[in-house]
Symmetry: C2
Subunit: 450 residues, 2 copies
Amino acid sequence: MPAPCDVVVVGAGLSGLYAARLLASAGIEVMVLEAQNRVGGRTLTTYFGDGTFVDDGGQWISPGQHCIVKLADELGVRLFPSWSDGAMVHWRAGVRAVSNGLFLPEDGNSAAATHEAAKVLSEMAETFPPEEPWAAPESAQWDRTTLHSWLATHVTSEPARRVLATSIEGVFARNSMPTSLLAALFWIRCGDPLTPFLTTNDPGPERRFDGGAQQLSQRMADALGERVLLNAAVTTIAQDSDGVRITAAQRSISAQRAVVAMPPALAGRIHYQPALPALRDHLTQRVPMRWAIKVHCLYGRRFWTDEGLSGQVVSDAGAVRVCADNSPPSGTPGVLVGFIEEAEASRVAKFPPRERRAEVLAAFVRYFGPMAGEPLEYLEKNWGDDAFCRGVDGGYWPAGVWTGYGASLRAPIGRLHWAGTETASIWNGKMEGALLAGRRAAEEVLSAIS
Amino acid sequence: MPAPCDVVVVGAGLSGLYAARLLASAGIEVMVLEAQNRVGGRTLTTYFGDGTFVDDGGQWISPGQHCIVKLADELGVRLFPSWSDGAMVHWRAGVRAVSNGLFLPEDGNSAAATHEAAKVLSEMAETFPPEEPWAAPESAQWDRTTLHSWLATHVTSEPARRVLATSIEGVFARNSMPTSLLAALFWIRCGDPLTPFLTTNDPGPERRFDGGAQQLSQRMADALGERVLLNAAVTTIAQDSDGVRITAAQRSISAQRAVVAMPPALAGRIHYQPALPALRDHLTQRVPMRWAIKVHCLYGRRFWTDEGLSGQVVSDAGAVRVCADNSPPSGTPGVLVGFIEEAEASRVAKFPPRERRAEVLAAFVRYFGPMAGEPLEYLEKNWGDDAFCRGVDGGYWPAGVWTGYGASLRAPIGRLHWAGTETASIWNGKMEGALLAGRRAAEEVLSAIS
């Protein structure tokens, strides 16, 4: 039975640990309770037999994500540019093509059409503050339709529609639950998915962490020491006028306040006393996680660069439709990463491992040739099976959820505060968003306690 | 610490209690664990000061619902025809009108258009078995679109579209999360929402239970006696090759098998060991409950019948858009019921009680005249606030859920079986569906145990 503390943080992902770090540095007695036997949440670094690291979870940071760069510097974790030079493989309607950009020659003036539509969407996204996507005059209407139906009506070029959808919705553009137009505008407002189409200034490359993204959480947890408890799944959070009482794995911990640093869908599985207000509870029922399987193949060298390929793929068929070069900073050995999303994830998750691996490798061979079919090693992580994550990217926002329930996303409830990247108003769904949300929650707590 | 039993049923709503009743009558040792301090789940009978009963939850049974009629007979609960004779009040674009049917004179040939569309929809719904809505050749396509977009494309008469939507989606036609076309076809397949437009045979009236619908659960629980434990919220269900172990409110109970008789959204909040397979877990994230507030007003007599009104309302504005006559079998006193749905529920839930009551009464006055503004008593039940129900009707099925996750709705997982009306293939979402699902789960258990 640990001693009472000032603040309990539920969840030792990036968001919870960063909140705890800031609170501890402000002299607050803090405890972090983590359900799993590891920290990092949806960042998870793993290793091939030869010691080469790969990230099974979040890994890329974009230009403009300053908070995570500063944290990495504090923690002594080095950044390096992601391997992305070279041409992209396109797989369309059963045909392979190679191009230096997002379009193929037969796409005609699609780049111009993309630019035009990106301008319009960006202007629409500017009509609300990122903290309140429901506040634009047209929010209700935008939340009743989907991004895809807006694109179908406003963009005649099919390749432009595809590129815009993929840019805005990330690698998960083929959602089983279509993103509302308002949710898409929020992604635009809170990140930079359309910047490449709106500026000619090179923003610089995406970057990765040398040694993996999970190091950030591990080093924050190391600094917090015994204030982080693993294998402590929180089942109940009770609060009254005196404080909060958290029950986790036979333990009961008292505190002044609690920060719940979990995605809404998972935060809803805790038993709250008193029960959560209806608006907040119903939000947790309406923002499901995105199911994805991430696969990595290890090769002796980056053989795809012989052909001038970047390792990047956009494909319209098969289990793996998005790939990238995930080799370590030295460039040796070679590593390819592939994403299996939603309907494809649920389809191949049922297969025996050998069969699933065969289907993945067949896709890699279609994209990169026969050498891709003979990896030295093969790794996979099914986030749908991860009982305390259930997905890797930010949650879905189906039609009607932002306007109907968004107001409860961040609003503290008595002594409870909400963190996690899904509550970020900037870089929502990203690692940067996780930190910003953790910082915002820590600031709420500090101002309430002091 | 109760003695081990054969089967634990989680949830003492209609479905769980009926499963337990059937198991007990087959000689199985059964325990029912209920989180609340009452049985009945989403059936809940309450009383005005004068003793007049009203149902805050499920209350109407339709012609063709044989299982619940048989159960009522076994339990000695009497049925009576719902008060529905007379004309309906229509409130459209700020104007009140009265009509003997679902249409007004200015709606022209909408009745014929409704009949035509109902025929087409019924034929579409016949292309899959009710147990497998994902099995029709066009299921995937139907699950990507919504009922409303199908109606917009195929039915030119606006009144016909409105009547069809309301008939299929029930009183909750203005969903914040639009029903997929496939989900709508499933409602058609598994119930009778279009029968009134397809036949001239009078199927007979909807009926209610004299004394309230909760009596069914109360009497089943009385018969089960000490085998029903109240205030026993289940937090963990563990299973291995030897059996299941259920943790609920300091108790731990062992059994051979468990029946979870809860809606998927709430069943997902239990902690399972081992964790649920991804497909089942993700289903629980994608079928939210429907938030509704039910209000009742008590009057000295059924004054609306003076004008020949049935008490039924369809309205396109305000907090209360659906009303009915909920007077007791004797016809005295008079009782009106109103439904406040989803966006309106979340809007008025924030009001102080006096303000919410004023808005409800203002709506009743618009529909029924000044006498409706002076009830002897006013009752309300906000199902969104009910921590162990969170809604009253069956869950939503947004686009993509049936085809992507439907296969996990009923499939047992090891020693776990799923009941609850959301798992019914006939009368899904209704009280009859709850019983049929409970019976199906009991049969699964019996065939596994014997």
